[in-house]
């Protein structure tokens, strides 16, 4: 079977388990983001895929071959480091040609490939410049070109855009995704920025505590989070406790809700409701009563903070649907059962 396959990969440092029994299949040509808070094991997992750390358990296969113990330099991969790790003593062209020079490619072939790659990253004619005199975005592109010089089987990026300012980062995310789609190269990106993951990935792998919490398409991760960690980590959400009574009827914050997705399992749990799915209406009519505590008008969106049953509920609306509320007002909170997700507690 082709692609990258991780089976029960585990990494222990002494008594600390950085990555715990991770299994994941990455299809050829797909773009996967490893997403999670710092210390969740995503970088360790990537370093094991690169061969910079060896797993203490499990296996890694690439295009059918077991590469678990293969040293890094024989894995034919390209990697972009968080620090970029451009070689300071080499020019832009020499940096990009490094992997070709190490493999003994002849000078003309090296030059041709460097020119090709410089054109691809929109920096033609930069071959003889010093890497120390480039801007952040240019250094970023050079690091990407260097990693892609041998047309690797696997393209790994460890927090590649974290050093760039917000605007440039967003532009590079789009550019990187377009480049990956054009080249059709299997790509794995480690990031802690969920917007970055949502922008680029075919599959987002959410990790926490050294384990995969959910691996799915970005929209599914957002719309159907597997647990409360994923729901809370990806975007903003309201996690509201609910209980079911003997008849299977659910009550959220003491108010019963009709039409919630079939509740077979838990009798107590959490309901994840995205702020944009919360609607505010006049109190009564069987809605959850609450008191407006703060209104944050950001121009593009309006966030209304409502206190209900000791819990804070956030509702987001666009200016077009601005709720007619003010601080201290009692309102009714309307949840849409179709977009609310039941989570085990």
């Amino acid at each position: 079977m082709s692609g990258l396959i991780l089976e029960h990969v585990t990494k222990q440092f002494g008594t600390f388990t950085a990555v715990n029994d991770v299994s994941l299949a990455v299809a050829d040509g797909s773009f996967v983001c490893l997403l999670g808070p710092s210390g969740c094991g995503k970088t360790t997992l990537m370093r094991m895929i690169a061969g910079l750390d060896l797993p203490t358990g499990g296996s890694i296969r690439l295009s059918g071959a077991d590469i678990t113990q293969v040293p890094t330099h024989r894995r034919d991969l390209g990697m972009v480091f968080q620090s970029l790790a451009l070689f300071p003593h080499l020019t832009v062209g020499e940096n990009i040609a490094y992997s070709l020079r190490i493999r003994g490619a002849d000078k003309d072939a090296q030059k041709k490939r460097v020119d090709e790659l410089l054109a691809m990253i929109h920096l033609p004619g930069f071959a003889d410049r010093s890497v120390n005199k480039l801007s952040g975005g240019q250094r970023q592109r050079v690091a990407i070109a260097r990693a892609l010089a041998i047309s690797p089987k696997l393209f790994l990026l460890d927090e590649p855009l974290s050093a760039l300012d917000a605007k440039l980062r967003e532009a590079m995310q789009v550019e990187l995704r377009q480049l990956q789609q054009r080249l059709g190269i299997t790509t794995i990106v480690v990031t802690h920025d969920q917007r970055e993951a949502m922008t680029m990935a075919d599959t987002v792998v959410v990790m926490n505590g050294g384990e995969i919490r959910q691996a799915a398409a970005p929209v599914d991760i957002y719309r159907r989070p597997a647990d409360s960690f994923v729901a809370d980590f990806i975007g903003q959400t309201n996690l509201l406790p609910f209980e079911t009574d003997s008849t299977g009827r659910a009550a959220v914050l003491g108010t019963s809700i009709e039409g919630l997705a079939p509740l077979t399992g838990p009798e107590k749990g959490l309901l994840s409701v995205r702020p944009e799915d919360v609607q505010l209406a006049p109190a009564g009519n069987g809605l959850i009563p609450g008191t407006v505590t703060f209104v944050r008008d950001l121009g593009g969106t309006i966030e209304t903070f409502v206190e209900a049953g000791g819990q804070q509920v956030i509702a987001v609306s666009s200016p077009r649907n601005r709720p007619a509320v003010h601080v201290g007002q009692t309102v009714g909170i309307k949840l849409d059962p179709a977009t609310s997700v039941v989570l085990a507690k």
């Binding site: 690169a50 330099h73 620090s83 070689f87 003593h89 490094y98 190490i102 041998i150």
Partner: protein, 284 residues
């Protein structure tokens, strides 16, 4: 913090103390030495102020030329030996655990507390026939008979490299600790074996530090005058040994001063050349 050029004389105040110390303890003695090198020698250990070039003229002989050549060769050899051993050693040290690093650094620093005399006698014992390391080799079956390894060029080199090694590590250590560890990792992901990554990325990235270390050990080794006498034959004596001999035993201060001035000029020229060569390569 705002930085502006000094306006009044008082702004230069902090510089007065170091400038004064430098003048008193470096510029004055050095100027005295240059002056003495032109003085006329009187038999019986004294000299009279004069301006003669005899001392320099005497120096321009094949014998002193050879000694100067050997001194420079020895200093360069010690500098290269220290850097060749020191760079990989310090690279590994900088990547080992904190505890290992401290143990090694303390051990290396303790060498600095040993005087040149102690180092010299310790090595002459270790290289002797009766109590030396060759006895260990005989016991291990590597040699059939214990033998003396001193006096010899190898013994002089070993002891001088031993003495200079802590300085080498201390100069290299900060640069190697600060070196981005992902540089060699990046080289490995690009297809270089760990050894190849070390030589194509780590060493070139440290070129300036390595050059500075070479120069420092070179100058340090040039001043060594005890170890060549303790561990070497007369043909292994350096110019520093002859300077000591002239200044102390022959009481010929002007000639000793002339040799010292010449040694300083030659070493400055060599250092200048090394720095210039380094700059040229960087500009390329």
């Amino acid at each position: 913090m705002r930085r502006e050029p000094p306006q009044r004389l008082g702004d230069y105040g902090p510089l007065f103390f170091p400038a004064g110390m430098l003048t008193l303890f470096f510029v004055v003695p050095f100027a005295t030495m240059i002056a003495v090198s032109f003085f006329q020698r009187q038999q019986g250990g004294f000299y009279t102020p004069a301006f003669v070039l005899d001392n320099y003229a005497r120096f321009l002989s094949l014998f002193f030329g050879k000694v100067l050549g050997f001194s420079l060769f020895l200093a360069v050899a010690v500098a290269i030996a220290c850097v060749v051993v020191g760079v990989p050693f310090t690279y590994l040290l900088a990547r080992s655990s904190r505890k290992t690093q401290i143990a090694w650094l303390v051990a290396l620093l303790s060498i600095l507390s040993l005087s040149e005399v102690m180092i010299g006698f310790a090595w002459s014992t270790l290289f002797s026939r009766t109590a030396g390391i060759t006895n260990l080799f005989v016991w291990l079956g590597l040699m059939s008979q214990a033998q003396a390894l001193t006096p010899s060029f190898g013994a002089v080199m070993t002891a001088m490299a031993y003495q200079a090694f802590p300085y080498t590590v201390l100069v290299l250590y900060p640069a190697l600790v600060r070196l981005d560890p992902t540089l060699s990792e990046a080289a490995r992901t690009l297809g270089a074996s760990p050894a190849k990554a070390f030589f194509t990325v780590v060493v070139p990235a440290l070129r300036n530090t390595i050059l500075a270390t070479l120069i420092m050990v070179f100058i340090f080794a040039l001043g060594s005058y005890l170890l060549p006498q303790l561990l070497g034959r007369p043909q292994h004596w350096t110019l520093s040994v002859l300077i000591t001999d002239q200044a102390i035993y022959q009481s010929n201060m002007p000639f000793a001063a002339a040799m010292a001035v010449f040694l300083v000029l030659v070493s400055l020229a060599l250092v200048g050349l090394a720095v210039y060569a380094g700059r040229q390569k960087e500009a390329k």
